[in-house]
């Protein structure tokens, strides 16, 4: 995955998309092969230090703490770092005043933004997103997509997004990796994937999503 780009991972369910993502921050140990971060093999790194360099956003936001501020700073505080919750929330497209609210008082879309802010609090080099919008309605989904592009443009953040929505992939990704039954079936630039050499793979995947 090229640094500073947005890579989408697509494939039929059970293809191993979530597993692939989890081998990057070593929530799952790869049974074979090696993952490199900036040219450095991750198998030699301390898993906790690795997870602070590579953030992750899940399908459902699981927020910890009584206030949004606590939820936003959870990981940073574990790392002994201080951060400005208001500024992080603004980076994730929420008003800074959200920080005093209770996480449960937020909509799922807003909670998902908090989970992005919480990942940003650790100033990661890359962000892994496992179906980050599949629990959201259409409007909230579009806003998260805009945020993904914005974070990539303003912070130069490398993003890997697992998605089963090819329209979303077309709107968001620079590159597309196709995964079928645990194997990569190829990777394309977005334009190649949606028209041109990747067209066949796209049709194959579209029929299986």
């Amino acid at each position: 995955m090229p640094g500073g780009s947005i890579t989408a991972v697509v494939g039929p369910s059970g293809a191993g998309k979530s597993t692939l993502l989890r081998t990057v921050n070593r929530l799952i140990e790869p049974t074979a092969g090696e993952v490199y971060l900036d040219g450095e093999p991750t198998s030699g790194m301390d898993p906790l230090a690795l997870r602070r360099r590579v953030g992750m956003v899940f399908q459902l936001p699981a927020l910890f703490g009584a206030t949004v501020e606590e939820a936003t700073l959870y990981g940073a505080r574990l790392a002994g770092k201080d951060a400005d919750a208001g500024r992080l929330l603004e980076m994730a497209g929420l008003d800074a005043s959200f920080k005093d609210k209770a996480p449960q008082a937020l909509s799922v879309g807003e909670q998902q933004r908090v989970s992005i802010a919480r990942a940003l609090a650790l100033e990661p080099e890359a962000l892994l997103m496992d179906e980050p919008t599949s629990a959201l309605d259409e409007a909230a989904r579009r806003r998260i997509e805009d945020l993904i592009r914005e974070l990539n443009a303003s912070l130069g953040l490398t993003l890997v997004v697992v998605s089963h929505d090819l329209d979303q992939v077309e709107r968001v990704a620079d590159r597309v990796v196709v995964l079928v039954r645990g194997r990569s079936e190829g990777e394309w630039d977005r334009d190649e994937f949606f028209s041109g050499p990747g067209e066949r793979a796209r049709r194959y995947i579209a029929g299986r999503l």
Binding site: L27, P47, R51, F58, S115
Partner: protein, 259 residues
């Protein structure tokens, strides 16, 4: 000693009549409890009769080694029962045996060292049995609760790990609720004791003709002993078993969660 007014054989049969009423009700209402009740009646009779003879034999030996051996056997049986309840938790037998064993040794040790009870089979076997039995129940509750909650709250645990939390930090809220739920019944029973129910040891002594104040004295020792030992057992079980759900690299294992 014979307890005044208690006809052993006759009273057993009469109380069994009450069980028969319960079985009849179960059959009438199709509650499917009659088989379990039957097993419980037969097992408790056989087990109590057997332990009666065993305790009588150990009393006769007047050997502390025999007492220790009997208590060790009880710990093993308790750990086995707990581990069977907590199927799907790896190493649950060793964890339960360790926790129940430490709780029993620690509490009986304190009672002996402070000369609260004399070092005789008459005290050590019944008190040890109470400690082991209660620790077993709490160990089972803690293990099953932890297993179920980690299974259900997997996304939360993963989210915490992904933010750089250690296994212990990620599981801490789940561990806390599991321990609270496992210990609350005993803590509540201790709080309300004497008001709502009269505990077993005291009931036994009063029926056997002891002075009620003497019975209360023993009961207070028993209560504090149980509160201490059961809490120790639960906390040890929690701290020893949560690791079974994780790899040393702070990864959630998949295997123990699949039932």
């Amino acid at each position: 000693m014979r307890v005044e007014g208690l006809q052993t054989v006759g009273s057993g049969l009469l109380t069994l009549g009450l069980v028969a009423v319960a079985v009849a009700l179960s059959l009438y209402q199709r509650l499917d409890l009659e088989k379990d009740i039957g097993v419980a009646v037969v097992r408790s009779f056989v087990q109590l009769a057997a332990i009666g003879y065993v305790i009588d034999y150990v009393f006769g030996l007047e050997s502390l080694g025999a007492v220790a051996l009997l208590l060790a056997g009880m710990v093993m049986f308790a750990a086995w029962t707990s581990a069977r309840r907590a199927s799907g938790v790896p190493r649950s037998f060793i964890v339960a045996a360790g926790a129940i064993g430490v709780a029993a040794v620690a509490t009986l040790g304190v009672l002996l060292l402070l000369h609260i009870v004399p070092p005789t089979a008459r005290y050590l076997i019944p008190l040890g049995g109470m400690v082991i039995g209660n620790s077993m129940n709490t160990a089972s509750l803690t293990l099953t609760r932890l297993r179920d909650d980690i299974g259900e709250q997997r996304p939360k645990v993963e989210a915490a790990l992904a933010l750089g939390a250690t296994s212990h930090q990620a599981v801490a809220p789940i561990l806390k609720t599991a321990l609270q739920r496992a210990l609350i019944p005993l803590i509540d029973a201790t709080k309300t004791t004497g008001i709502i129910f009269l505990p077993g040891a005291m009931v036994g002594m009063i029926i056997a003709g002891a002075d009620p104040l003497e019975a209360v004295r023993l009961q207070i020792v028993v209560l504090y002993m149980l509160l201490g030992s059961v809490s120790i057992a639960a906390i040890l079980v929690g701290l020893l078993s949560y690791r079974s759900f994780f790899t040393p690299r702070h990864q959630l294992k998949t295997a123990p969660l699949e039932n």
